[in-house]
Subunit: 377 residues, 2 copies
Amino acid sequence: MSSGVGIVSAQCAHFTQPLELKGGSVLPAFDLVYETYGMLNAAKSNAILVCHALSGHHHVAGRTADEFGKPTANVGWWDNIVGSGRPLDTDRFYIVGVNNLGGCHGSTGPASPNPATGKPWGADFPVVTVEDWVASQARLADHLGIDAWAAVMGGSLGGMQALQWTLSFPERVRHSLVIAAAPKLSAENIAFNDVARQAILSDPEFHGGHFYEHGVRPVSGLRLARMLGHITYLSDDQMAEKFGRRLRVGAGSYSFDVEFEIESYLRYQGDKFAGVFDANTYLRMTKALDYFDPAQDYEDDLARALARAKSEFLVIAFSTDWRFSPDRSREIVHALVHNGQAVAYAEINSAHGHDSFLMNEPHYHAVVDAYLKRVKL
Amino acid sequence: MSSGVGIVSAQCAHFTQPLELKGGSVLPAFDLVYETYGMLNAAKSNAILVCHALSGHHHVAGRTADEFGKPTANVGWWDNIVGSGRPLDTDRFYIVGVNNLGGCHGSTGPASPNPATGKPWGADFPVVTVEDWVASQARLADHLGIDAWAAVMGGSLGGMQALQWTLSFPERVRHSLVIAAAPKLSAENIAFNDVARQAILSDPEFHGGHFYEHGVRPVSGLRLARMLGHITYLSDDQMAEKFGRRLRVGAGSYSFDVEFEIESYLRYQGDKFAGVFDANTYLRMTKALDYFDPAQDYEDDLARALARAKSEFLVIAFSTDWRFSPDRSREIVHALVHNGQAVAYAEINSAHGHDSFLMNEPHYHAVVDAYLKRVKL
């Protein structure tokens, strides 16, 4: 029997020591919003950091409460894997979810006040990288008194953070779970990201990133970006199975209204996302993806780049993921094997494309469960 | 030795008999702009119709002339395959290229005057289908005195027209060359098309399709649509080889300017296209793709749908085409084989993805050449 973590609430850590970013600018101070599940043991050796992907945040598991303390429908994005008896077992581990710098869920980001002006940062919020996120998360680890994570874990862009942790702080992470990720983006990946960014940047309501002051939001551009992104998260087969070519309303209307179910689905996803997400955050998240390339300083030799990691690794890929295909995960595995580093690799048959890492796939969860069970505390 | 067709000029045929469209509306009259290369023989048995794809037109081969009769740089989009000694051999065949209804290269389309108002049709121009195009092309065949085409040929959306010809007019086409096509779009194909359409429809300068009257063009939306389309025309490997992750300017700028070469390339393609193409045409071309589904009236049984064709077929697919993969071409081949119909199939190894059908791939051209050489006149 497994059970979820129940009602959760976020906390906020304020950091006053300036953070120098990879791009050269300095954040004088910043907040990180986070949630925790389970109990930190006395040795502080049972902490797992969960890193989020492009549109994620600190609310990983459980439900938030309404003003009367009742649970809302706001369930964490990875709730299916966190809880008592679940792979990230809260009876054993202390799990930390954090909203990344530049985000739009409470941590310091483009909508936060710029201390220099008192107005929202907007376009002036710096471009942040995976390395910057890891550096800021290390501050959070300090704040929580955690010298070394039992594990750092994430899917997609979150998996890149799990990998970067082993390079930025080799002594501070004992296990790295890199799921549905890649050692760097392909030209095609960058191309999709750039079209998404162009959709936002060319929306007249973007106002060069200073839309907050105009009381508007670039909803149209953000909606297009999300629709496009969503296509790349699903598998072709899954779309075919889920939507086929079914018409939403009987015969074709010979107009540009919604006709096929896939159109209805995508527009709904786009509208929902555009209603809540911050366009400046979206731009920065995609840019962090594009920039991630640990082998860049090693003449594209990934094995050399990963040699300084001291962590053990679990790498997981999904058969129908065409955004970061199993081939890309295998690049990481081959580099680690080449170095004689400890790595386990699982390639999971799943119909859900890139999104599989969020799904309740029994085989996938069993692999994570088995791996984490052997992590010594 | 092969040579091109030299300087060419377009002609315009005007049709006054109303054309009833599949969507139910009626075009009272229409123009089709076309070019021809080679000579129609006395028996009128050597004519090949070349159908164009999404952004194509009637200018298939040769160069247009400037006002002084000198050749311009405006080379036809399939020039590499048409000419004396080329696969579409103008010493033997009479080749016809036509701009489709709803286009923006001279044939009646959204920018043409609506006879009811005297103003451009704009949004009121009907949605046209592959069947409608074939019906209008049959009028052009009548106009040229051609009872039956020796062959109808096209790539991508053009291949769908080549297939539809065999169904709409089984007696009027002896060979059908269906290249880089599919018997219908997948949900993923439709999804990409819908995002492209949404980019145009949500551009404030689209003005509900009546932008002509406002003296503006939805350049931004059209540019996004083309950038997105372009990603799907190329192969991932080809992009990797051509652009990799090379930065256009030394180190990262940590901004949203062009940084990676792939971004520079895509934005250039988007800008170039958006500068000349008509947004209303683009909407209609993608919709014609989405609607194409000859098996729809046959309980999705493609073999039954194709049974009435009397043509012989050459079907060609390209290994790295992920827009319309070889699997999709094989669906057509299997249906024809099931019916005992005459079909040859070639799957060409090519690095150029969907765009391969436009490329000078020796193996591909050799297959077309060999096939057409055995076409009896």
